[in-house]
Subunit: 398 residues, 2 copies
């Protein structure tokens, strides 16, 4: 099945807003096995919108339209959808009533121009938006089924998962539930992770469970996307593969799903009743800035110091914390040579004893700093969990 | 003139990479007065590329194609451009020679598959890429002039400004030079800035000098885009408007063009022979992390402290710095109420005396933290430049 993504709005057409809605939609479709084959961006202009709808209706089987459902005069999606279908706009009484009540609950009167958001093409299928005033709808234009969604990212994301993907999978002839399992790792590149996961039955780029990677240096995200007839079958097939992936990536997995390296570190500190001090030199505050502002860090993070030299001994003494992390970086004198970079030294000291780790990273200043920050927090994670702190990573040179 | 942007590549089609090339190109076109009316994203697929080229050739007058010029088998732009034009690919000897020499200068032999990058559609206009192995080229498909550019952002951006924009402006019938003047401000919203700049002759959204805004909370970017027949005319018309904008935005302008608030603060500290210590509480290192890692900050930034309480007196004493900046934030007990937020207190002490400033910011934790960080650095900027530190900003409630 050929799926298209059609984004509307002058702000994204002219580049004022970066179109992250497009990449989110495309990624989610790809993850559930829907084949995205064309993306279109057009502005708030009647003739262009009509042409875009008609051309997509000729090329595709299913189209998601994003944007243009707001209450203002430049929101034209319903109007041009109706024109492309050759039908009038009609009032959806149910949606008007829901909007009116939603305003009333907040003690407000619905502005008159919101009524426009309840005008849908005659015969359109209503597509619910549980958290906004722009409802979605579905119509057929040419040979494609179109689903219209609002441009507000929070509303679009929820409708995409709850409304659009199930409908598109149904059009594709698959009645399924889907799941995306994510592992966040540090220390291995995409090609090495690919090798480490080779040969797991059913797991492949085009396998029964789709394997995908996304690099966000210095971390790598490993994604397992699965479709199944029902939840029970999904768990039955996913569980052993998920366990095998966790085992193979091993110590390099820093967090799973919505957790982050820093949230995992914070949770480990909390569960051990520990308090933390961080000392930094060249990283200039970026290590502390990942931990200290986290919700719940108030009772754990005691003190941060940014100075030309830091030691765990001094940190423990001046902070009264139970564990100290010190990160030092010596950047090369000249950062212009091909193999220039810096040498990172991390030291951890506390009740469980002390440990140090040195690694040479190659790259520009920001690259080395970000690598040092990750290396420091990952070292602390490993120390807290009793894992080897000096395990070699792909980014270091020895 | 109708301009289109056509981006190719599976990574952007499937959302694996966010398409920031699109937004950069669209913004630059809009800034120089070229009318972007359509954007297309397609993958590395022969039939789709051909259709995309032909359809754009029917709709547009000028098309920039981005991506697909690399040395690997999935880079198909030259091949399909030739097919759309109905001509064969021919070797560009000059480009092959330049690539060969470029490899030789780095002591390497050019891999055989790079030869593919010198194969251009017969009759194509060569478009120089001074910093990469993928040269650009221009051909006519349908009624539109197409210019092909590489997907590497650094190469694309340079070619866009030096090669593509001048050619497209020429097609549009305007032989001009262009300039984009940028002001970065803190403390005023887009609508207030718009009011402050009202009535400046020639300056408007569709004026002789195009006015545009881009909000990157907590900063606002104000852009003046100008086209002129030559450099002398450009300066003659821009200079008075630029001076008037600078005057009206006044103390709120924190930096211009490629400068940033933190680079301006660092330069002011340096020129005054000062050294700096920063103390933070709830911001947890994000203030220090904006200053300490800057090139040239080594001799200026003495020490940072993140602790439950900080004072300028203690900071000066323990760091030996000549000036201290302390930032404290008290977040509301409950962050769930509609008007919740936090109270920011900044204190600056040094040879020029000491000053404090308190502001209440409304928003979620990250919003308040980022606002506090900006308020602190802007307070320091104002203090160093002898400007009022307590000038009211749009984001604060009193």
């Amino acid at each position: 099945m050929r799926v298209e993504i059609l984004c509307t709005g002058d702000e994204i057409l002219t580049g004022k807003t970066i179109n992250t809605n497009y990449s989110h939609i495309a990624r989610r479709f790809t993850e559930v096995g829907l084949d995205v084959h064309w993306g279109t961006t057009v502005g708030d202009d009647r003739a262009t919108l009509l042409k875009a709808f008609l051309q997509a209706g000729e090329r595709a089987d299913a189209v998601i339209v994003n944007g243009g459902l707001g209450p203002t005069v430049d929101d034209l999606s319903q109007e041009l959808a109706a024109e492309a279908c050759g039908v009038p706009l009609v009032l959806n009484e149910m949606w008007l009533e829901r909007m009116t009540q939603s305003y009333a609950r907040r003690g407000r009167v619905m502005p008159a121009n919101n009524r426009k958001q309840a005008m849908l093409p005659e015969g359109a299928e209503f597509v619910d938006n549980p958290i906004g005033t722009a409802c979605g709808f579905a119509v057929t234009i040419g040979k494609a089924r179109f689903i219209f969604t609002p441009g507000v990212p929070r509303e679009m994301r929820r409708m995409l998962d709850e409304q659009v993907i199930p409908r598109f999978l149904k059009i594709a002839g698959v009645n399924v539930v889907t799941r995306l399992k994510r592992f966040h790792s540090f220390g291995i590149g995409e090609s090495r992770a690919d090798e480490m996961l080779a040969g797991i039955p059913g797991l492949a780029i085009d396998g029964d469970i789709k394997l995908g990677f996304q690099a966000h240096f210095p971390e790598l995200e490993t994604k397992l996307a699965i479709r199944a007839a029902d939840e029970a079958e999904l768990m039955r097939r996913l569980a052993p593969v998920e366990a095998e992936v966790r085992k193979r990536l091993g110590n390099f997995v820093v967090a799973e799903d919505n957790d982050t390296l820093e949230s995992v570190v914070l949770a480990a500190l909390k569960s051990g009743g520990q308090t933390l001090a961080i000392g930094e030199t060249v990283t200039g505050g970026i290590v502390a800035a990942r931990v200290a502002p986290l919700p719940g860090a108030e009772g754990v993070f005691r003190r941060g110091t940014i100075a030309p030299a830091v030691s765990t001994e001094a940190l423990l003494k001046e902070s009264g914390a139970s564990i100290a992390l010190a990160v030092d970086v010596k950047l090369d004198d000249s950062m212009d040579k091909p193999d220039s970079g810096g040498t990172v030294t991390i030291a951890i000291a506390g009740a469980k004893g002390s440990v140090t780790r040195t690694a040479r990273l190659v790259g520009n200043r920001d690259w080395v700093r970000n690598g040092a920050c990750e290396l420091a927090l990952d070292g602390l994670r490993r120390h807290l969990k009793g894992l080897p702190v000096d395990e070699r990573i792909d980014f270091e040179r020895r």
